[in-house]
Symmetry: C2
Subunit: 540 residues, 2 copies
């Protein structure tokens, strides 16, 4: 090869904020806060505050490569740290405050931050765990002077730190391969694992996720991230929004229907996204109040499959388009998103809705997908054949933080642990987690498909399906049902409901009424269920 | 810093075609050809043909880093070379066939290609210049077997080469900083200069130019590039279109109104772009035929300022949005594009149109702009203060091919040679070329502004303004007018027209009726004019 002669300028996260401040300086950032009134700002002011924040961090001894942790909600102060910390070449470790104490302590002692920024909500948590934090030297509460409490950890006040500095800071040039964000995944097994996003991955992801195949933002959009900033950087919305000059609305921790509705209407939100639970509450609020969702156009939903009734209600009652999204911490996090294509549109509106509501999304530029069988061969892209989902690309993980070996294979393919199908239209559908798929007589049964069907049975609140060891078939499905309070529901009712809806050999060998255990991130804890009923089918 | 742990997968041009073939394989590519019927294909087939093309290139001895040249129109075969050549790690040198013989020979002997692909149109040109081409070993005519002529250069037949190979090729991994395209700029002075695009610059440019701030493509778009593929890769449309799954329509050399209209209507073109001349012809065709422009939504116009009447006609008669674009070979080539923003929209439709029709465009993510005075200080962003336009970013030039020193300064700023203003909305307006701006008594007079006003005077076909040496004022403007055939127009008529429209001190010291010389790329050759009238004002 001969080297090209264009600039090899590094892809740096701070350049996104610099762009927004220069090209869209007056565009607003509106933020709820804990125990403080709503804060209104704009990209120009936020850049100035990020500059002050960077200088304050330097005074606290933070150097390039150091980790800085947060236990914080979706606020403009957290957003400022998203730029100030990577802007210095340091790493922001966004910790999920909803994890168990043990996991939070593990993460902090694994990431080894020197400074911990936290919202007032978490003062008790921080005070409780501080004695076990081996590396944290300085605690800073993300609060204004009036709201500030130093507490047992003698926390500094964020706004006082900023007030001490002046505007203006010459950001250093940071290598685009430098670590920038350290986000931990908490599986149901083992310790949390750290994914260390590079500056380059975050910038490329921001560009890729801004395309019309994905979020498709323009300067007229008003974006409200209802996924948490501590969850894989809230799908990267804190980067995609300023990159497109979008107004940004940050709801803090207030995700109830009335609070969201207030921001949606008052601030003219056009785009939001989050897990289904939030939108169930939001739709219930609209239903009860008779209100309309203002300028809202699109809601992107991820984390688990979108209930069809939710997508239909949004579309038919309110004219809002629901798009599914799938990704994981290991993919920064965008994998696929269910935006329409002409090939689907040709099938008619109903078929299009069916496709985009029942599949996780379509192939995006920047992340390659493969579906392979147990021997590593690609399965047909027919929407039926399922296999292990592998991903690859410039925002896909190479290795977990401090791991001794790569998480991706030598060709760059990372096994997501999901089982999925791909269809002729390039749409992917997750059918199961690899560890949850039920292997019965050499064939696979999707626990997720069974759960989605069973939850439609009247009286069922939660349906969980696990594969249990079976002497003849290797594994067989068992259905655990947590009924709604006061519902009278028999095993026979459930089986009668399933009969016309599932293949005979998919029918669960047992139906059990019990409470369904959840993990710290709100997912069904199948590990506990498998242990609980381990030998149920052993004597079948 | 600590290194991030995401994949450092290289940004490679071939991955754009791979994405389109995988995710949008059935999406059509329609191409006119020289002396052959329209060819219909799709991204899946084009990838297979690019694979065959790569294997044929290897057999012709092309290795990584080698240059391969083209003298070719906008066809699917040229498009295939856009991927096959960089896919091998080689460099595609797209030569402008409209240049003078001397310039073409210079370029070919400077780029040193081993293979030259050309359209049938250029057989006489190739035969004429072949004896002077020092490095070309193989000539290939981009034709099917029936249309093929070997000629004196014993050209191979492109389709025969492809027919000899079979589908399937494992593309090598190419360093993202490898050279991929070598495009020459032909200024009015000196030899053409080569700009060597890297794989990385082309991919980042494709992502950046796809944003809604720029082209804003989605999978429903049908894109027809009417700028030439040999002009800075036709604004990168051959990359942005497949990256978004857009249908691609290639008009070969047929840019007359009737031919464009046929493709626009038959193929459902939604987006096109080119220089103003083409759209003047197209609008005239619509006017004469009474036809409508089908599904056409947006026309992006660059190369020179968009006449207001053209933008108005497109909008008011046909509902088509005209967007100005500015860029140069040295910026791959996107600089700015005039897409609406909420801040402008708030001023009302008329003010919005005024802004996007009179300014070249607004700040884009990925290319920074500065406007500086003679001392290198930033001038105010007030839309009035003008200065030298500097640019910087990952798709901006670092150094010309084979140049001994950088074209960008030590901070990465490249002086475009343009004089421009920036306004509070982030919109940039070119007011002149640096070498053409007229320095009169310490103040600057924009030759372009004066020309744009003078060309509005009835009877004027071309208006050219140059600054000539003046004993008292250093320079003063002189207006050269080429009138429409048969127009009767006096110096007094012109001055009377200008009087209410320009400041007194901007009024030209002389008005001359003469033919206006053009460069090979159709721009006014001011160098010739300055020489022709050199001492006109010396005795003033």
């Amino acid at each position: 090869m001969i080297p090209g002669l264009m600039q090899t300028r590094q892809l740096q996260i701070i350049d996104i904020l610099a762009y927004a401040a220069t090209a869209h300086g007056d565009v607003e950032i509106v933020s709820r806060l804990v125990d403080e009134p709503i804060a209104r700002s704009n990209y120009r002011l936020i850049r100035a505050r990020a500059e002050r924040c960077a200088k304050a961090l330097l005074k606290l001894g933070v150097k390039s490569g150091d980790r800085v942790a947060t236990l914080a909600w979706n606020t403009h102060r957290h957003f400022e740290l998203f730029y100030a910390v990577p802007g210095l070449g340091a790493v922001l470790n966004t910790v999920n405050p909803r994890l168990f104490d043990k996991q939070i302590t593990f993460i902090l002692n694994h990431a080894e931050p020197r400074v911990l920024f936290f919202d007032k909500t978490f003062l008790p948590l921080v005070e409780r765990l501080a004695p076990q934090m081996r590396t944290v030297e300085t605690f800073v509460m993300l609060a204004g002077e009036k709201a500030h409490i130093a507490g047992e950890v003698e926390a500094l006040c964020y706004e006082t730190l900023l007030a001490t500095e002046d505007d203006g800071y010459a950001w250093p040039t940071v290598d685009e391969n430098a670590g920038a964000f350290l986000c931990y995944t908490s599986g149901t097994t083992g310790d949390p694992k750290g994914v260390l996003y590079s500056q380059r991955a975050v910038v490329l992801h921001a560009m890729g996720s801004s395309l019309n195949s994905a979020f498709g933002f323009d300067a007229f959009d008003v974006v409200m991230p209802c996924s948490s900033l501590f969850h894989a950087t809230a799908w990267g919305l804190p980067f995609a929004a300023p990159l497109n000059g979008c107004k940004l609305v940050l709801p803090c921790e207030k995700m109830d229907g009335a609070s969201l509705q207030e921001l949606i209407v008052e601030e003219g939100v056009t785009f939001s996204g989050g897990v289904p639970t939030i939108w169930t509450m939001y739709l219930a609020h609209l239903e009860q109040s008779g209100a309309k969702p203002g300028e809202l156009q699109r809601v992107v939903i991820g984390g688990s499959a979108v209930p069809r009734a939710m997508a239909e209600a949004f579309k038919k009652k309110y004219g809002v388009q629901v798009l599914q999204i799938w990704g994981m911490t290991e993919t920064t996090p965008l994998g696929v998103i269910a935006t329409p294509t002409p090939a689907l549109a040709e099938l008619g509106e109903e078929a299009l809705d069916e496709a985009i509501w029942t599949r996780q999304g379509r192939l995006q530029f920047g992340i390659e997908l493969r579906i392979v069988d147990d021997d590593g061969n690609d399965v047909p892209r027919d929407g039926e054949s399922s296999g292990a989902l592998l991903v690859r690309g410039p925002w896909t993980i190479q290795r977990y933080y401090r791991a001794p070996s790569d998480a991706a294979d030598s060709d760059g393919w990372f096994d997501t642990g999901d089982i999925a199908t791909l269809d002729q239209y390039g749409f992917m559908r997750i059918t199961d987690r690899k560890k949850d798929v039920i292997k019965s007589g050499g064939e696979w049964i999707s626990s997720i498909d069974l759960e989605n069907i069973a939850v439609g049975c009247a009286g069922v609140k939660v349906a969980a399906v696990v594969g249990l060891p079976h002497p003849k078939w290797e594994e067989r499905p068992v259905l655990v049902i947590e009924p709604h309070e006061g519902a009278s529901l028999s095993k026979e009712d459930v089986l009668r409901y399933l009969e016309p809806r599932v293949a005979k050999w998919w029918t669960p060998d047992a139906v059990i009424f019990d409470s369904v255990p959840l993990t710290a991130t709100g997912k069904i804890d199948k590990k506990v269920l498998r242990e609980r009923y381990q030998s149920l089918l052993s004597n079948s």
